[in-house]
Structures are given as C-alpha cells and as structure tokens.
C-alpha cells in the first residue's frame, strides 16, 4: 500500500512529497525511533498520515499524565509496540488528603489490557495510583520480561505484593516504591529473590519500616554487580550499611538507613573507609537518625555529590556548615528548616553551583510550639542569603512562617532564572510581616523577573492583584497552585485569560465561583486538569460547563449530604475516554 502511494505521488509530480515519501516505511520508523521526547512524538504524528503511522509503530514508551484522559484500549489500539508505560492517577491535592479514599486510579484494568496487548512490557512507572497485591501478582506473572517497576506515592498494596515481584520477575532491574503508602507486613519479601537472580540495578525500599533479612540483602547486593541505586530503610544500622557499601562500591545513588548506631562503632575508621570507597556517588539521602558523631564519615563520599537529600535529618546549622564544604559540586539540596537561616548562609557560602533548594518544615503543625532554643525555622533572611550565593538557582520550594515582599523581590533579582518557584508561608493568609501588606508584590516580582517560570505556588495574604500580575507576566507558566487567596472571580479569570501555556491549575479555599469557572471554557481542553475545592462553585455551574464542553469530564466530589447546591470539590479534565466507568458513588460526573 505504501509503495503504491509513493508511485501516485511521483505520478502526480509533487516534488516535495516525493522527497518525503521516498523513504520506505522501515527507514522512517527507524529514524523516528530516535525521537524520545513525547512532545516531539506528538508533533511528529501530526505531520501527515505516513508519519502518524510510522510514529505509532516505532513508539516504545507512552506517557499518560492523567489515567482517565484515555482508556487502555485506546492506547493499545494506537500503539502496538509499547515496552514502557508511565501513568499518573490522582490529582496532586490527594497528597494532602483532599481526595477521599477509594477515589479511583486503579491500575488493574490497565494491566489486564496490557497483558494481552503488550506481553513484552518491560517497564511500568506509576504515580498516585492504587495498586493492589493482586495486581502486583498479576503483573509479575503476566509479563515474563518485566524489568522495571516504579511506584511513587502509590497505595493499596502490601509487602506481599513485593514478594510476588521478587519471586517471578526474573529479569527485574528496578524496584522502587518510594513514598508509597504500603501495608508493611514484614521484611520477608526481600528473601523471595532467588539465588540465581543478579540483574538488579535499582532497589528503593526506604519507606518501609519493618526489618528485612539482612543476610538476604547483603547476598543480594553482592551478587547484583550492576546495582547502581540502593536506598535502604530505617531498620538498617550504620554497621550494616558499612557492610553493604563494601559490597557495592559502584553505587551511584545511596539511601542510608537511619545512620545511627545504638552503641559506638568499634572503629569509625572502618566506616570512613567504606565511604571512601564510594567515589561514584552522586545522590545521597536517608540519614533519618543521623547524629553529628557519624556525619564526618560521610565526607569522603561527598566529593562528587550532585544531589543531597537531608530532608529527614534534623541537622543544625553548624553540622550543615561542616558538611557542605565537602560537597563542592552540589546542584540539588533538600534540607529541614532546623538548619535555620544560619544554615542557609552556609549553603550560600559553599554551594556555588546550586540549582535546586528545598527547605521542608520540621514541625509544620506547630505541635512543639515555639521551641525553647528559640528556633523558628527559616525566614526571609535565609532566603535572601541563598539567592546571593547561588545565582544559578532555578528551583525553590521554601516553607517558612514569615516573609516580606522586599525579600522575595531581592531573591528573584539575584536569581532571575527560576523555572519553579514554590513559596509556602505556613501561617494561612500571612501578610508581609513588616509592612502588613498583602504579598501581592512578592509574586508580582517573581512573574515579572522570571521569564522562564513554569511552575508557581503562591501563599500568604493575596488579593486579586497577584493573579492579575500572573496573567499579565507569566507567559510560560504551566502549573499554578493556589490556596486561601484572592478576593473575587477576577483573580482566577486573570490567570485563565493571561497564561496561554497553563496546563495544571489547582485551587483550594478561594472565593472563585461559577463566573470564574466558566471564564476558562475555551482553556480547559488545552489543559491537563483543573482542581477546585472549597471555592464558591455550584453544581449548576459545573453542569453548565459540562454541557458546553462535552469533551471534558466535569466531576464533583460530594462527601456531605448537607448542601446540594455547592460543589465542594471539582475536578475537570479533558478526556477521549468519556465519563469514568469506575467512579465511586461520591464522584458525580456532570
């Protein structure tokens, strides 16, 4: 058929088409096989029918950002040769308990379709999906060549499911269950890896609590010579870690266990020697119970560190100040606010190549009150200090209790290259703590200065002006998170009207109503999703939206029977799969 077409093209004398379609399909597919980015692939598929066909046949990886935007059958029909699937499920606000349990995003129906369409499936990467033990067992048995399983922030399974994976996936290279809420029934799953099994390259079980059989783990690490990523859990002691490191000096990413020991190690030198061996490490995390006594043992391994995740280690500023000079190449740093402003000053002095900084709160809910030591986390001073010393910053996530407009303006003046700016002033609706003004000018400065901004999270006391700024200046913005902000529909409207690249908009507890919702009528089909909870949208408004835009799924989550007119939680997303067929009773599609 293809060659006939080409003949016709030649006969019709269309020279441009001749040049293009003289490639046999196989060659076109081969060439297109090198195109990896899914955005580029989408573009490729739109060129012409031949290219659409070549693209779909040559594609091996599919990324689905919203599992309900398409059905597994549609995917299988279009792409016959998939080896790797990435799927994302629940809306991001489910991380903060805003989505009720049993909402959906269950992987099982996908697996059933894949088992017949893609028997050679090798990789499955899921985020915020529900995965049961039954599904894991089904997966392990259905795909003989299965290699990589990554479950980030998933739920619904237990360590029994892991045992199935360990037992049946003979070619497994990756098992990563980071941050998944899993039922931890014990550590015996690890022992299910057969003795003949040697292919593991990535193992991350840092979020499990129960003890695994250390002997089994040590043997596993010894025989998997290609192991590059190892992130163990808390139950692994310092001494055990040392032994693991001796077996796997080739590690590139390490998640230490608790990094503490009940009794003193016989020889600190041995520990240091073990770390000295690991010159290839570029990522380090874990360190839950780290004590300053053992921290120096790490220093030799930090020479080539690119990413240091200290967000579970309650380090003080002095400890951080001693550690950082050993990490000259650091580009990504995650810390707890126990390091305080002084610690951030140490970051500024030492981390000249820093691109990403995340500061997490050690005590976000004020349960400890104001600690006796007077420590109050980080403030605007630390933020400004870091911006002075780290001009390459492009990603920041900053939790604090106070901020000023001037400080934020200074930060972005020093670092105009932000692509991700997430500022969380934890006290709700907190104004500029010196002037008591709203924080509008802060975010105004951010969007005016950072032309490459793609992701923004706002907080503090904000009027509609913030959103007018965003709509006017943030022309590259793709993701916006808003909470407890704004004064009227005008706020949300400004964003929807002004940000052409907006893909994800998540809003909670803002006074935006139907008028705002409907102002985005012609935007939502070019967006992945919209979330609005505890706003002023009504059921009627949602119905109207659904009626006008039939290719959107407009879902209302109704948990209360009290008020029938208010739409408590609204989730709007484009879909070619039609309304959900698996919706629980509290999810109502308009």
């Amino acid at each position: 058929m293809a060659s006939k077409k080409k003949k016709e093209a030649i006969d019709e004398g269309k020279s441009m088409e001749i040049r293009v379609s003289l490639f046999p399909d196989e060659v076109l597919e081969r060439v297109l096989g090198f195109v990896k980015s899914h955005k580029d692939r989408s573009s490729v598929s739109l060129v012409c029918k031949d290219w659409y066909t070549a693209e779909r046949w040559s594609r091996t990886h599919v990324f689905i950002g919203n599992c309900y935007s398409v059905s597994p059958e549609i995917v299988a029909r279009r792409f016959p040769n998939i080896r790797s699937v990435t799927l994302k499920g629940k809306p991001r606000f489910s991380d903060f308990n805003l989505v009720p349990p049993n909402w959906g995003a269950d992987i099982h129906s996908w697996l059933v379709v894949f088992a017949s369409a893609y028997p050679f499936l090798e990789e499955l990467r899921l985020k915020r999906m529900t995965v049961t033990d039954e599904s894991l067992d089904f997966l392990a048995r259905s795909f003989t060549g299965f290699k990589a399983l990554s479950l980030v922030s998933c739920d619904g399974f237990s360590t029994d499911g892991l045992a199935s994976i360990a037992s049946y996936c003979r070619n497994l290279t990756e098992l990563d269950i980071q941050e998944s809420g899993i039922d931890d029934l014990g550590g015996s799953w690890l022992s299910y890896f057969p003795e003949s099994f040697t292919s593991l390259e990535t193992l991350n079980f840092a979020n499990l609590n129960s003890e695994v059989n250390f002997d089994a783990l040590e043997k596993l690490v010894s025989r998997c010579k290609s192991l590059k990523v190892l992130k163990v859990n808390r139950s692994i002691t310092l001494e055990q870690l040392r032994r693991l490191l001796m077996r796997a000096p080739q590690l590139v990413e390490l998640g230490t266990g608790s990094f503490s020991q009940d009794h003193l190690l016989r020889a600190d030198a041995e520990l240091e020697a073990a770390f000295n061996n690991c010159k290839s490490l570029h990522t380090l995390s874990g360190l839950w119970e780290v004590s300053s006594m053992y921290l120096p043992a790490l220093y030799p391994a930090c020479t080539n560190l690119i990413f240091l995740n200290l967000s579970y280690a309650t380090l003080q500023s002095t400890e951080l100040a001693k550690l950082l000079p050993n990490c000259p190449l650091l580009r990504r740093l995650w810390v707890l606010d126990t390091v305080e402003d002084k610690g951030l000053e140490a970051v500024a002095s030492n981390c000249h190549f820093l691109e990403e900084l995340r500061v997490f709160p050690a005590d976000p809910f004020d349960q400890e009150g104001i600690p006796e030591g007077g420590g109050t986390g980080v403030t605007e001073f630390g933020f400004v200090a870091v911006s002075k010393g780290c001009p390459n910053l492009r990603y920041v996530l900053y939790f604090c209790r106070q901020m000023t407009n001037v400080a934020v303006a200074t930060v972005v003046r020093n670092c105009p290259n932000f692509t991700h700016f997430r500022l969380c002033i934890m006290n709700m609706c907190e104004p500029d703590h010196i002037t008591k003004d709203p924080m509008d000018e802060a975010f105004g400065a951010v969007v005016k200065t950072c032309k490459k901004l793609r992701r923004l999270a706002v907080s503090g006391l904000l009027t509609d002006r913030t959103f007018e700024y965003i709509g006017t200046y943030a022309k590259n913005l793709e993701t916006l998170s808003v909470a407890f902000a704004g004064r009227s529909d005008r706020g949300m409207q400004s964003v929807l009207e002004g940000c052409p690249k907006l893909r994800k908009l998540e809003i909670r507890d803002c006074p935006f109503g139907n008028s705002a919702l409907l102002s985005g009528l012609d935007r939502y089909e070019s967006m992945r999703s919209l979330w609005m909870s505890a706003c002023k949208v009504t059921i009627n408004g949602c119905r109207l939206l659904a009626r006008r835009m039939p290719r959107l799924n407009v879902e209302v989550i109704k948990e209360d029977d009290n008020d029938d007119t208010q739409a408590e939680k609204v989730y709007v997303y484009r879909s070619v799969a039609g309304p959900r067929r698996d919706a629980p009773p509290f999810v109502i599609t308009m």
Partner: protein
C-alpha cells in the same frame, strides 16, 4: 455567619490583616475554652481566632468536618460518645487518624494561648505530604536538648495533650511504676479542664474535683488514653508491659472515646478493653 461580601474571603475587613481582630462566628461563640492555671479564675477571653473561621460554610472543607463535629450546637463540650458522628474516616477528613490527618489531632493548644482547634484541623494545610509526616525523624527534640538518649539519663519526658484543653503538660514516665499511677496522675493534671466544663463559666470548684462529675467524664467511653509510639502509630495505652511502654512512648494524648475508633487496626480489636482502661482511669477511692 458573616457575609463574604462585607469582609474579604477570610472574614477580615480589608483594612486590617491583624489576626487578633474579633471574628463573630455564631456557631463557635459558645464554645470558648477557658484558659487559666488550675485553681485560678479564667480571664475574660476573646472569641476564637482562627483563620478559617468566618468563612462561608461551604468554603472550608476541613473546618466543616473537623471543628463543627467536636462541638455541639449548644456550645458545650461533647460528653456523650455520639458526638456528631465523629467517624469521619470514610469522608477522608478525620480528626484523629495519624496517618491521614495533618494536624495529628493535637487541638486546642498554642503557645500564644489561642484556641487552635480550627487551625490544626484544616485538612491538608500546610501542604505537607502524608508520607513526609509519617517519615519524620523521631529525634526532633534530641538536638534541641542535646540529649542523645533520654532514657540513658533516667527520665522519659513526654508531652501529654488532651482534646480541647488549651495547653499541654509534660510528664516523666520514669516517675511512675505502672499504668495505674500514670493514669491517676494524668487525671489530677487534667481534671481542671473537665471540671471547668462541669461547673458553670469555668470557675474552679474550690475543693477541687467534683467526684461525680469527673467520674462521669472519665468513666465509660468518654475519654481514652492513647500514645504515639516509636513508629509514629497511635496506640491505646495499656496493651503492652509497662517497661515496653515507657521505652516506646513518644507522647500521650487523652482522646475522646468516640474519636479513638479511628486508631490503628490493632487498637480497634482492643476497643473492648476500653472499659477496662476507663476503669483504670478511675480515681482510687
């Protein structure tokens, strides 16, 4: 409820962002907790200040579920076990389940003396992922006190909170030898809060406890004593041997009986023991 047209969204007038402003909220006026040390007369206090108050009812998901359910319309504390249903687990916004609720359930206390119930119970704020909360290191106090291992110094100080009480207490578990001693000590410590509701307007009875009133409150399923263990799970006090308990207990919480149903499954099975526990909490005659 203040109309959202008059005030800005959070119920404050646009000229001021001072949180000390009085916020009239009908439902909550009568639920003012009385502050003050045991034995003193409670001072006149300002109405509840919480940022999520004053919002249109539909607008604050956490507030609607959390706060309103701990308080009945008449403004008194909920004494009966059937307080507002209380079982929010299915709705995803429970007060007490440690794994789910961001506030961890310690309501009603704050170093500034404001009632924090509303603040602590706004679901999902600050936006910290449940995973991160549950993985937080257990040595939060360690670096501040400089004490590596509290137990090696012969004392185990843990904080004790009581639902609805305006401030916490701290007890040294090592000073007690068994559960009975601990529970009677706690009873004494917290009786001022419960008694404050028993008598009117929060004035302390001069002769201390009103026997029948305290007994009414602590008997049966009104309050249960729970603790957070090393794994950050909330457990009922009394299940494990005393020594094991003092080694693993990180903090204590006197919880309303109705809320305790949301605790870890193991606790559910032990709920029949709650009566035994309540009996343990009886003041020795």
């Amino acid at each position: 409820m203040p109309s959202p047209l008059e005030h800005d969204y959070i119920g404050f007038s646009s000229s001021s962002s001072n949180f000390e402003e009085e916020v009239e909220v009908e439902d909550l006026k009568g639920t003012e907790l009385r502050l003050g040390l045991p034995g003193s007369e409670s001072p006149e206090r300002k109405p509840v200040v919480g940022l999520s108050l004053g919002l249109p009812k539909s607008s604050v998901s956490g507030l609607k579920r959390g706060f309103a359910d701990t308080v009945d319309g008449s403004g008194g504390w909920i004494f009966s076990g059937g307080s507002g249903g209380g079982m929010e687990n299915g709705k995803g916004g429970p007060l007490v389940s440690q794994k789910e609720e961001n506030g961890g359930g310690t309501s009603g206390q704050d170093s500034k003396g404001h009632v924090l119930s509303a603040k602590a119970q706004v679901v999902g704020w600050p936006p910290i992922r449940s995973y991160r909360k549950s993985m937080m290191p257990t040595n939060l106090d360690k670096n501040k006190d400089g004490i590596e291992d509290k137990q090696s110094f012969g004392c185990v100080f843990v904080k004790v909170s009581m639902d609805g009480a305006p401030y916490l207490r701290k007890v040294d578990l090592k000073t007690y030898d068994n559960y009975k001693e601990l529970s009677s000590a706690l009873e004494k410590m917290f009786s001022c809060f419960t008694i404050g509701q028993c008598t009117s307007q929060g004035v302390q009875g001069k002769d201390g406890l009103s026997q029948s009133c305290l007994a009414d409150l602590l008997h049966g399923s009104e309050y249960v004593l729970t603790y957070e263990d090393k794994d950050r799970d909330w457990m009922l006090v009394g299940d494990v041997p005393w020594d094991m308990f003092t080694n693993s207990c990180r903090r204590l919480r006197i919880m309303k009986g109705s809320d305790a149903i949301g605790l870890a499954p193991r606790v559910k099975e032990k709920s029949k023991n709650r009566n035994d526990l309540a009996n343990q909490m009886q003041k020795p005659v």
